[in-house]
């Protein structure tokens, strides 16, 4: 563990491991302009389908938009806005969370989509030049907020990549970092094992209740979640039951005690291992992590996925060698060597740890090289929580 971290300290005390310039459209009609700017520059951008609705999902959308725009990996955010009260509230909240550099480009004041593009592109290029001049400095382990994710799981997920990620997570928690396990639907059946590792009995109760609450919300719709989990892709990958999938998915969190439970997109208040209530949907989870200020994600996969985040480097770990070889430009690290018998779980865990540190220090992931910037707004769509 002789490795050390370098990053970009922000004014609010958080630390970024990237200096991204984000173009953030605050209305769906402005997303095409944001995409165009990211195609013409090194700025990143998101696309979404929110058109200013102030409905039952607004609080959730507000939390995600504000947290995302203020992720510590961002050097500056350029807001594209119509200037409506709801949009201005998002900008104000992002600043109060800790976003230090921002520019508001208001199309209502400019009066033209083409001018919106030209002005915002110019702002992006100017911020990118400034961001390039900032030097990395040594930062503490507590500045690293790791997100643990799996998707497209297969029969090897629970015995190769996930437990190896658990080794890396334990190492980081031991050093004082934050590590966050998500995917409520994918610990269903394993929640009692996680609850038993809670530092405080109330945290254990919260883990159990969070899973039960999710299941109730789905049952309320008259749907059995087991109809979608494990997914068809999981079954084709060799998984048989939701419980088998959950037992494997939970291994990403290693063996450290749980410090707390977080609501969707809420930041961890202090170092330690946390459980966050997120959907299993890969991009809703990834977006919620980014909105919570998580600055590195490790994403294990048995089937392979190219996805990433505009603001959070996402390291892909393959559960099996065959996939790592057949779709190499999606994968950063192969944990299939554990099943091949050529490396031990501990060895691969240390490789993942080293990769996390290297990526934090600036190494680009496959998803970053492919400019994958997927984004989802997690909505309830009327689903009741009771």
């Amino acid at each position: 563990m002789s490795k050390s971290l370098t990053g970009y300290p922000r004014a609010d005390g958080r630390v970024g491991f990237r200096n991204q310039v984000l173009v953030m459209p605050l209305h769906s009609a402005l997303c095409a302009t944001a995409r165009r700017i990211s195609e013409e520059s090194a700025a990143v951008a998101i696309t979404h389908d929110w058109s200013g609705e102030i409905d039952a999902d607004f609080a959730r959308i507000f939390k995600v938009m504000t947290g995302f725009a203020a992720n510590p990996n961002i050097f500056a955010t350029i807001f594209l806005t119509l200037g409506t009260p709801g949009e201005l509230e998002i900008i104000d909240k992002s600043k109060s969370i800790g976003l230090s550099n921002s520019t508001i480009v208001n199309v209502s004041e400019i009066g033209s989509m083409e001018l919106l593009y030209e002005i915002a592109l110019k702002e992006a290029i100017s911020y990118l030049a400034l961001a390039d001049q900032v030097a990395r400095v040594s930062v503490p382990w507590s500045s690293l907020h790791l997100g643990l994710e799996c998707g497209g799981s297969d029969a090897l997920s629970g015995i190769t990549a996930n437990p190896a990620l658990g080794v890396a997570s334990d190492m980081l928690v031991e050093l004082g970092a934050v590590s966050v396990l998500g995917e409520t639907t994918e610990i269903l059946g394993a929640e009692h094992l996680l609850a038993a590792r809670a530092l405080d009995p109330n945290v254990g109760k919260q883990i159990i209740e969070t899973v039960a609450r999710y299941e109730r919300s789905i049952n309320y719709e008259g749907i059995d979640m087991r109809g979608a989990q494990p997914s068809r892709g999981n079954i084709e990958g060799g998984l048989t039951t939701l419980e088998e999938k959950s037992l494997g998915a939970a291994k990403k969190a290693g063996s450290a005690p749980f410090t707390g439970v977080l609501e969707y997109a809420d930041p961890a208040p202090k170092p330690g291992l946390y459980f966050m209530d997120t959907p299993g949907h890969d991009i809703e989870q990834l977006t919620g992590f980014a909105a919570a200020g998580i600055n590195i994600v490790v994403f294990t996969s048995g089937r392979g996925t190219p996805t990433g985040s505009a603001v959070v480097p996402t390291i892909k770990v393959s559960t099996n060698t065959q996939m790592a070889l057949s779709i190499p430009d999606l994968i950063d690290l192969n944990a299939g060597t554990i099943a091949d018998g050529t490396q031990t779980l501990r060895e691969v865990g240390e490789l993942i740890f080293n990769e996390i540190v290297d990526v934090a220090n600036g190494k680009l992931t496959a998803a970053e090289l492919g400019r994958h910037q997927e984004f989802s707004l997690s909505r309830m769509y009327g689903t009741q929580i009771n």
């Binding site: 009609a29 979404h48 068809r232 991009i283 997927e374």
Partner: protein, 270 residues
């Protein structure tokens, strides 16, 4: 005068000739976008296709089929990931029932990002060359009318459309104009006239030309240049504009590409 359109056999006649690169899941939207940019086709970003449950599984699948079925769409290339809920090959089989000029690719079976990108370009070009557009008389133009609250301007346009024998469909039930556009797409309208809500900007639907008509709101006054027609346009001026767009004139939102495709959902993701 007989108006010409693009022959889609059983799907009717379209007023635009768009190839659709259809990502079956959020995970393939980026590659779909790269392919579409390379070959000059249409695509859209969305967050669906996986982690969906209950009525959303069939609902989203049907919605994607309706996009592929629309007469403004020529050929369709479906790009899937491989392990998602809505499987690309099954979606392709379903789409082919109404649009036989459909092909599909799966990232997990195409060698990854670079492989899928290259295969996608080849497949999209092959579809275009195998199924070149054929012109046909457009016997019936179908106009979609979208608004949130009726007024005399809208009533006057509807009377004008009736008098001119032009078929029209109305969507006024959704507060979100994007959902109104999606509803009109499913009803097969060739173009949309949007009496844009006073607090909404001009917008559009990537596969359907959308004519935005301004209200007298402060937002619309500020964005006057982005509207196709000003507040208070007469029904005959709107009708003339409709006919020009049907004949190929591009609307402001077609030029700016403003507007996303919004798919209806009913249950949270899992």
């Amino acid at each position: 005068m007989k108006r010409q359109g693009f022959d889609r056999a059983l799907r009717g006649v379209g007023i635009r000739d768009y190839q659709l690169i259809l990502p079956s899941v959020v995970c393939s939207t980026r590659i779909a976008s790269r392919i579409a940019n390379e070959v000059g086709s249409k695509t859209f970003a969305h967050q669906h296709g996986c982690g969906i449950i209950g009525n959303d599984v069939e609902g989203i699948s049907d919605f994607f089929c309706d996009l592929a079925k629309h007469p403004n769409v020529g050929t369709v290339l479906i790009v899937g990931l491989g392990c998602e809920t809505i499987q690309g090959n099954e979606l392709a089989a379903k789409v082919k029932e109404s649009n036989p000029t459909t092909s599909y690719l799966v990232i997990q079976e195409s060698g990854g990002v670079a492989g899928t990108f290259n295969d996608g370009i080849t497949a999209a070009k092959l579809l275009k060359s195998t199924y070149p557009p054929h012109l046909k008389n457009l016997d019936e133009l179908v106009v979609g009318v979208e608004f949130s609250n009726s007024n005399s301007e809208i009533e006057s346009l509807i009377a004008e459309l009736k008098a001119s024998g032009i078929k029209f469909e109305i969507a006024d039930q959704n507060k979100n104009p994007g959902l109104n556009f999606s509803e009109l797409m499913r009803r097969g309208v060739h173009l949309i006239v949007s009496f844009t809500e006073p607090n909404q900007p001009p917008s559009g639907f990537p596969l359907i030309p959308t004519i935005n008509i301004a209200s007298d709101s402060a937002l619309h006054s500020a964005l006057a240049k982005e509207f196709d027609l000003p507040n208070g346009s007469t029904s005959s001026a709107i009708l003339n504009f409709i006919l020009d767009v049907a004949d190929g004139k591009e609307t402001k939102s077609e030029l700016s590409k403003a507007g996303e495709i919004i798919a209806p959902r009913v249950v949270r993701s899992v």
